[in-house]
Symmetry: C2
Subunit: 250 residues, 2 copies
C-alpha cells in the first residue's frame, strides 16, 4: 500500500514547485483512504529518495530538483552545472605532489602525481568534492594558481596543450567518510554518489584521474542507451543451477 | 597523509586476492612510518569504499571484487551477473496490479501497471532489489509464473512479442529505507546505488520502468565515453559571478 501511495505522490510531486508544502499526514490519510502508518512510510520513502524534505515543526516540502547530468559523452565536469543555470564556486582544499603511484595498477605506471581536491559550492552550499590526480609528467607542470582558477580540462588544454580523447567512467556509491562528510555538509555515513573518471588522449596517455563525490540529493546522472546489439536473454530463476544464456543478435 | 597511505594500500589491494588478510595496524605503522591515527583513517576510508572489510576479532580483509557492469548499451539486467560467472537466484517479493499511474508524469499516461519486486541472490546473499512496473496494456498480459521464472525482457519478448529499442537510464544514490534494508541484508540508512531504467520500443511505447537498488559493496557501473564533440570549457573559479562558458567544437 505505501509503495502505491508513494507512486501516486511521486507523480503529484513532479507537477509541484520546489519548496511547496505537502498536505499534512491527516489530509493524506483522508484523501487516499489509507492508514497513517501507510502515509508515514510513503513519505519516508520519498524523503529517502530525496524528492521531499522535512523541516522541523513546519512540515514536508518538495525538495529542490536534482541536477541531471548527461553521461552520453566526455564533458568537463563543471558542465554539470551548466543546465541548472548556476555558477559554481570552486574552493581548492588540497594541492600536493606525491612521489608514489596513486592510480589503479591497471593504468600505465606513474611515479608520482599532483593531487588536487576541489570543493564545488552553490550559494555557499557544498555540492561536490573532486579529488583530481594529474600524473607524472603532466602534473609537475600545473601551478597552484592555474588549477585553483580553472577546470582541469581547461588547464590540460590551454596550459599543457593536451587533448582528452576519451574517458573511462565508473559509478558507485559509498558512505561519506569523516573527512568528506563535513566538507559536503552531510552527516558521516550519508550516501554519496561517486563518479570516477580516467581521461586519456588519443595516444592512450593517462592525462588525469578524478573522483567526484556528489551529494545524492543534488545530482543524478543520466544516459540513453540503444538496444542495438542487445543479447537475447534466456534464464529461469525458478530452476536451481539454471544457466544464464545471453545470445547476441545474429 | 592518510589519503596517500590509502592510495598506496589501494594499489597493493589491487594485487591481492579476496579474503586475504591485511597486515595489522601496528605492522602498517612500522612499514609506512606513519602514525596509528593515519593508518586507522586510511583503513577506514578503504572500508567505506568497499575495498576492505573488517571482521570482528579477526582483522581486516580484502573485500570480494565488485561486479563491474557496462552501461554502453541496453542489456537485460540479469546480464550484470554474466561476467562474474555467478548464476543468480531470483525471488519474487511482490506481484500486484495497481489501477493508478505509477510512472513519471513526463511519460505517456498509463492508467495502471503490474508491479513486480524481485530480489536477486547469490549463494543466499542478497545482491539487488528490482522494482519493475509493466504498464497498461502490457502488464495485464504477464502472468505471475512467467515473471517469477524469467527476466522481464525475456517475458516482454517471448510472451508479449515486444522488442525493446532503447532505454533511458538514471543513476543516483540513496539511503536504504526500512523495507529495502532488511531485504538487502543491510542496516537502514546504508548507501544504495540506484539505477532507474525506462524501456521503450521503436514506436516510443513505454514497455517497462524498473528501479534497481544495488548493494554498493557488490556492484559498480562502467562506461567509456568519447570526447568527440566535447565542449571547450572556460571558467574562472576565483572570479565571483564568472560565467561558465562551454564552446562546442566548430
Amino acid at each position: 500500500m505505501s509503495a502505491q501511495l508513494a507512486d501516486a505522490l511521486r507523480a503529484q510531486i513532479a507537477t509541484m514547485e520546489p519548496d511547496s508544502q505537502l498536505p499534512t499526514e491527516a489530509d493524506l490519510v483522508a484523501r487516499y483512504g489509507v492508514s497513517r502508518t501507510t502515509v508515514r512510510r510513503a513519505l519516508g520513502d520519498l524523503v529517502d529518495e530525496g524528492l521531499l524534505v522535512r523541516r522541523q515543526g513546519a512540515g514536508t516540502f518538495v525538495a529542490h530538483r536534482r541536477i541531471v547530468h548527461p553521461l552520453d559523452r566526455l564533458r568537463p565536469f563543471v558542465s554539470i552545472f551548466a543546465g541548472s543555470g548556476e555558477q559554481p564556486e570552486g574552493r581548492l582544499l588540497r594541492y600536493e605532489w606525491v612521489d608514489e603511484p596513486v592510480l589503479p595498477s591497471a593504468q600505465s605506471p606513474v611515479s608520482g602525481a599532483l593531487l588536487v581536491r576541489r570543493l564545488y559550492m552553490i550559494d555557499d552550499e557544498p555540492q561536490v568534492v573532486a579529488d583530481i590526480a594529474v600524473p607524472d609528467p603532466f602534473g609537475q607542470r600545473v601551478s597552484r594558481a592555474e588549477i585553483e582558477q580553472h577546470p582541469v580540462y581547461q588547464v590540460l588544454r590551454e596550459q599543457l596543450g593536451l587533448t582528452p580523447a576519451y574517458g573511462r567512467i565508473t559509478l558507485s556509491s559509498q558512505a561519506a567518510s569523516d573527512d568528506l562528510a563535513p566538507a559536503l555538509g552531510l552527516p558521516e555515513g550519508h550516501p554519496l554518489l561517486v563518479l570516477r573518471r580516467t581521461t586519456l588522449d588519443s595516444g592512450d596517455r593517462l592525462l588525469e584521474h578524478a573522483t567526484y563525490y556528489l551529494r545524492p540529493d543534488r545530482f543524478e546522472l543520466q544516459l540513453t542507451v540503444d538496444a542495438a546489439g542487445m543479447e537475447k536473454v534466456a534464464y529461469d530463476f525458478g530452476e536451481p543451477g539454471a544457466a544464464l544464456v545471453l545470445v547476441p543478435p545474429a
